[in-house]
């Protein structure tokens, strides 16, 4: 039994050291990944247990943080919620999801026939980057649109257990994926959060990209490349079973083996990470561990071969075939639409008249009239919501940028079914006559709102 220091340190808990963040990844991307995992998991649980969505389902998703508030007066606005991580197969194994039940409930429910967009309304098959995508159907339930897609590797390869769907802006879309082993294809149901428009029928262009990861993992792939036989080669060698790799030179010096290679096809084949190794006659593999394969161009890997006989060594490769991006553009017709009307209520707020307008994706609280810059109560509220630097617009209206807080516990929406929703604060603006506070939230039907509480003051719809 051997004790390594870093393993001994597993028991330590420390927060005393300030690490310089020289390598920091995008927090936006991490947020999306994390929240989508959570949302997907809970959505899946709720879909199949009949439970209502958890409170945070309604909360603003990070993907929306860069999206301006747009009142949806057009037909269908697709705004994205989350992405799938982990296949439905895995979830099914965990007893979380019964995919067949899900499919049946969504696509084969007789009561829902009127809501199903026919396959004719969908565009045809798209092939991109070696993956064929066929839209199979679409369905609208409430304000969610479900689109069923079939994905297949045209070369017969097994698709990844993890497929991400993105919209044209690169934002992730929630999805559940199942695999049909008989056809080696994946069936995905992606979900769009929609707000409907004024027309009785609508067509929207849905542009999708899918990223398949972990499509294939190889373990110790023998490259049939005997090192000794290729010392000093002058002609590039393309390796069988590894056409992504071209060996351009092999040389040894002082016990170090250098293998020069060109991986200009790596990007095409999508190997994201990989390790090269040397297999000795007894099967032991000496790994070279820096085989990150993103970049194209000429590279060299070095091995310390020590006392090994160069003529007995062969090259092996292990890697992860990943990140194949596929795109498509489908016209999807939804046969049912419902107009969302904003709703306004009035209530007394500290002896001021207040209006709250609930739209499909935003909540606006307008305190008017009578606001002046000298109103201490409102000033305090505004300060608590805004950054300190104010922006003065041309017409004299003061607009404060969004503060780096995602949610305020002081503004809540009580729904008629008893749930509480916390909208995301977006901006505040005011002049001498009124003060506007804007919040953004995932879709909530205005008629489902019982009341709105704003810093201790409750506004209730009276109609």
């Amino acid at each position: 039994m051997e004790l390594k220091i870093s393993n001994l340190m597993d028991c330590i808990s420390d927060d005393s050291i300030e690490l310089s963040a020289k390598y920091a990844v995008s927090s936006e991307r991490v947020k999306k990944l994390t929240l989508n995992k959570i949302n997907m998991r809970e959505r899946s649980e709720n879909s199949f247990t009949g439970k209502k969505q958890a409170q945070h389902y309604y909360c603003e998703h990070p993907k929306r943080t860069h999206t301006h508030i747009v009142r949806r007066t057009v037909l269908i606005a697709a705004s994205l919620v989350m992405l799938l991580l982990g296949s439905i197969t895995a979830l099914a194994k965990g007893g979380v999801i019964n995919i067949n039940e899900f499919y049946n409930s969504i696509f084969f429910n007789p009561d829902a026939k009127n809501h199903i967009a026919t396959a004719d309304a969908l565009s045809g098959t798209v092939v991109d980057n070696g993956i064929e995508i066929t839209p199979l159907g679409a369905y609208i339930e409430g304000h969610n649109a479900y689109i069923r897609l079939k994905l297949r590797d045209i070369e017969g390869g097994h698709l990844s257990n993890t497929i991400y769907f993105l919209n044209k802006n690169g934002e992730s879309i929630p999805a559940v994926v199942d695999y049909d082993s008989s056809t080696n294809s994946a069936i995905a149901i992606i979900q769009e959060d929609i707000a409907t428009g004024e027309a009785a029928s609508a067509t929207t262009s849905l542009q999708l990209a899918a990223i398949c990861t972990d499509i294939q993992e190889l373990e110790n792939l023998s490259l049939d490349f005997n090192i000794g036989a290729h010392i000093g080669i002058t002609q590039p060698v393309v390796l069988k079973n590894a056409e992504f790799l071209t060996i351009t030179g092999v040389e040894t010096q002082d016990g170090t083996l250098a293998i020069h290679y060109r991986d200009n096809d790596i990007a095409k084949y999508g190997w994201s990470t990989g390790l090269f190794g040397l297999r000795t006659p007894d099967g032991t593999i000496i790994w070279e561990t820096s085989g990150v394969l993103y970049d194209t161009g000429n590279k060299t890997i070095y091995f310390d071969i020590g006392k090994h006989d160069i003529n007995t060594l062969s090259l092996v490769f292990s890697g992860k075939h990943a990140i194949r991006t596929i795109t498509g553009d489908w016209k999807i017709a939804f046969s049912t639409v419902q107009q969302i009307a904003s709703k306004t209520l009035t209530a007394s707020y500290s002896e001021r008249k207040a209006e709250i307008t609930c739209g499909a994706t935003e909540l606006e609280i307008n305190l008017s009239p009578g606001y002046t810059d000298g109103d201490l109560e409102l000033n305090n509220i505004i300060k608590s919501l805004s950054d300190t630097s104010e922006v003065l617009s041309k017409n004299g209206e003061k607009t404060y940028p969004v503060k780096d807080v995602s949610v305020s516990r002081d503004i809540s929406i009580a729904l008629k079914d008893g749930k509480i929703v916390y909208p995301r604060f977006i901006s505040a603006s005011w002049d001498s006559k009124s003060a506007n506070f804007k919040f953004k939230m995932n879709f909530v039907l205005p008629e489902n709102i019982q009341n709105v509480t704003f810093f201790g003051k409750t506004f209730t719809f009276t109609d």
């Binding site: 963040a21 994390t34 990470t273 780096d404």
Partner: protein
């Protein structure tokens, strides 16, 4: 919102509060993951591990104390990154010496707990800057040159202090091990 308020909001099921927390701690978490994993993995993979860290926080939010949040996240990040490395068949890239060997099964729960106690005692007994150097290298898996950069200390000094730290830890484990009835700890013959 401070950490305490944010954790409270997360406990209430508020994913936006979690998003806040992710904004706040992603640089810290991703730096630890990168230190452990090095260049073996793509940025995409590192983001994946980062999200797993915050997912673990979400799942264990009831057990998380705001005053220890940073340490908790650091610990999860380190463990997740090491697990990812193991999946890849790789090891941490620092000079991770085998400090001792033993004939006993040191993975047994009892011995593990006793050894952990000894290591904690040792770390607490170290003086600065030795303690920080040791933690940076063996806990946060920072390279010697990165430590030298961050702490503005010569590389040779860092190496010397690490070597002294290893020696002291080895002695502590051998002597302390006897107190705990762990008799078979012996210096690794190859270890210098």
């Amino acid at each position: 919102m401070d950490d305490s308020e944010t954790l409270h909001a997360i406990r209430c099921g508020d994913s936006n509060a979690l998003a806040c927390l992710i904004d706040r701690y992603t640089p810290y978490v991703s730096t630890i993951i990168y230190n452990v994993i090095g260049s073996c993995m793509s940025q995409h993979d590192i983001e994946e591990v980062c999200s797993d860290v915050f997912l673990a926080l979400w799942d264990n939010i009831g057990k998380t104390d705001a005053s220890r949040l940073k340490a908790y996240l650091g610990s999860i990040a380190r463990n997740k990154a090491k697990n990812k490395l193991r999946e890849m068949g790789a090891e941490v890239h620092i000079d991770d010496c085998i400090i001792l060997t033993s004939d006993d099964d040191l993975e047994s729960e009892f011995l593990n707990r006793e050894l952990a106690d000894l290591v904690r005692q040792f770390i607490l007994s170290m003086e600065q800057p030795d303690r920080e150097i040791f933690l940076r290298h063996y806990y946060y898996c920072q390279s010697v040159s990165a430590i030298a950069d961050d702490m503005q200390i010569k590389v040779s000094t860092i190496k010397t202090r690490l070597r002294r730290g290893r020696e002291k830890l080895r002695l502590k484990l051998i002597q302390g091990g006897k107190d705990y009835g762990i008799e078979n700890l012996k210096p690794n013959g190859l270890y210098i």
